[in-house]
Symmetry: C2
Subunit: 338 residues, 2 copies
DNA sequence: TACTAGCAGTCGAGTCTACCGACTGCTAAT
DNA sequence: ATTAGCAGTCGGTAGACTCGACTGCTAGTA
């Protein structure tokens, strides 16, 4: 076995051991656990080399080594097999299957529950990004008068999502005008996507036209900037006492998840560049310095529709997380494709 | 000033000081801050009496006093004026007004954003319980076929809420049957509440009847057990380092909020018995032993429709929290009443 | 050249001690 | 009834010390 190969094995042992124990890993522990039959002294030599190259670091002089972001990266690229669904364990596999075999409600709830499932099996916070409303076709449009001067515009999309916007209208607007607007909207939008920009489409009646336009604009706007984020198991972040040492960071993390927007765009950016594992400082958001993100897109009828992901400390079980997101995304996709 | 009166003042000073400093309060501090002109020795005597009666306690022998749940209770009952909206401060008042003057979307979003507002001004986690769907009238019912064998049932309620359930149906069901079912449902439900139990209503066609019934049952079930909880500022819980000493409790708290159901029923129970402030162990849920809950119902057209509340450590600023929930609930109610 | 054994050195973490200071409780005086 | 003053209690902090888990290095071996 060449020396480079052995160093890889040493790094692997360090990562695996550290993931298990959460403590710096000593040369002895590696010599014992790696399966290599070399002495701890040899491991020590390799460790200094690994440290020189930036794969591991020492918290302080007389301590074992801890993987750096770069070390984790090497480990993931080299040793983690994303297709290894067997990394899940039979119990979790069964849990996933059962979950998706059960009955579910409209899209939003399914996605929310999926994030809970993923959190449960990975023991980390989980995120699910829904399919963008853009790609779904409009199945129905309603304009429902709620009270004087208020109309609720509702669009039902082919994927089961329901977009709605409250509109303020002229209180004296007649029911007939609303109905006319509804008809006009229906013929305008049905079977098209909400993504396409609103176009004027005169019906002859000014009040009706105004309402049609307002509803169209509102629904379009919503479809534009809302692919919602579902977060499950956020409380796990608070449990990760050791990883997010200061309570401070845990709190800011939770806040970040509450705000949603940052996370959504991060996930989208990562996935667009084909990244499925983002480790520590690799992503640019400062609050996520100590976190890793393991992602998998799910496909509806072949098209990438959204993303499921796990958010945990950099010291996380990547094998397991990868297997979990792979399984869940696959099953979610096939359920949604039906 | 009688001795009982003075003891009340001492207790008040202890509570107020403790809320500010988070530390046990010494007799000197009380003598200095209470406005009473007595010596610390006198205060000490009163303190032993207060301790004997269970209003305060000593963390250890040579420490100051800390209010007990009972002490907070007395303080709230006696000194906190729930109608004291001026306890909010002009800035917060303005923030609330501006929030409600801005435009908002459908009910669910408004409530969610309201929880965020309340969290922001109180610096604690906030909850909003939505109006029960039961009381709202049905404005529209849709049955939208999504794909072979799937129909989405949608009910739009007069309060702007939209309830939906996904139904599995016979894949060969004709469009006409679905339309017929939709018409039947509309005449069955329009202007009534979802609360009333489903009744058979034969139309003559078996398949249609089955669908009508399935939709009705599903929507009714949903209206029954779903008055949803909106949680804002959950991350504040993690920030309360001192109050929820162990990370453990913070995590379980967050989990509780995620599960929703426990909190919803607690809030409902409390409000039914007219309680607006529940302190520490007063509520029976063990995980909330160190928390207080400050609630205010909001009314839509005179009827109690839901609740807004603040969830914080027992050591919280009750004055401010009371003022906040009072203002927010009042404004939320009047917005929803329109 | 590649590896190993063994030793010296480093440093964190835990324990012990002593001490300071912040309180209280009590007593005696007003 | 109130107060002043004093003695006693106890948590928290700082310093000294030890222990043990490491590493790095050097010299020796295959």
């Amino acid at each position: 076995m060449g020396v480079d190969e052995r160093r890889g094995a040493v790094l692997r042992a360090i990562v695996e051991e550290h993931i298990q124990t959460a403590a710096p890993v000593s040369s002895q522990a590696v010599a014992r656990a790696s399966g290599l039959s070399v002495s701890s002294a040899t491991v020590r030599n390799d460790m200094t080399a690994l440290e020189r190259d930036g794969y591991v670091s020492q918290p302080h002089t007389s301590a074992g080594r801890v993987p750096t972001d770069r070390g984790y990266r090497y480990f993931v690229d080299r040793f983690a097999d994303p297709s290894a669904i067997e990394g899940l364990g039979i119990n979790h596999q069964r849990a996933v299957s059962e979950f998706f075999r059960g009955t579910h409600n409209a899209l939003e709830e399914l996605l929310h529950e999926t994030s809970g499932l993923l959190a449960r099996i990975t023991q980390h916070a989980a995120v699910v990004v829904g399919p963008p409303a853009e790609s779904a076709r409009v199945r129905r449009v309603d304009l429902v008068p709620l009270q004087q001067g208020q109309v609720l515009a509702i669009a039902v999309l082919s994927n089961g999502a329901v977009e709605r916007e409250l509109l303020d209208v002229d209180p004296d607007l007649s029911i007939e005008s609303i109905l006319a607007a509804e008809r006009a909207l229906a013929s305008l939008l049905n079977d098209s996507t909400l993504h396409s920009p609103p176009m004027p489409s005169p019906t002859g009646d000014a009040a009706t036209d105004a309402l049609v336009n307002a509803a169209h604009v509102a629904l379009h706007r919503r479809a534009e900037h809302a692919d919602p984020l579902y977060v499950g198991g956020a409380s796990r972040i608070a449990q990760e006492q050791d990883a997010f040492a200061t309570t401070r960071t845990a709190a800011t993390l939770l806040e970040l998840l509450e705000q949603q927007v940052v996370v959504v765009s991060l996930v989208r950016d990562l996935l667009e560049s084909g990244v499925t594992v983002s480790i520590g400082a690799e992503h640019s958001i400062d609050e996520l310095r100590d976190c890793s993100l393991v992602l998998a897109p799910y496909r509806i009828e072949g098209e990438v529709a959204g993303t499921v992901g796990v958010l945990g400390p950099t010291r996380m079980d990547y094998q397991h997380a990868l297997a979990a997101v792979a399984t869940v995304s696959q099953q979610l996709g096939s359920l949604l494709s039906k």
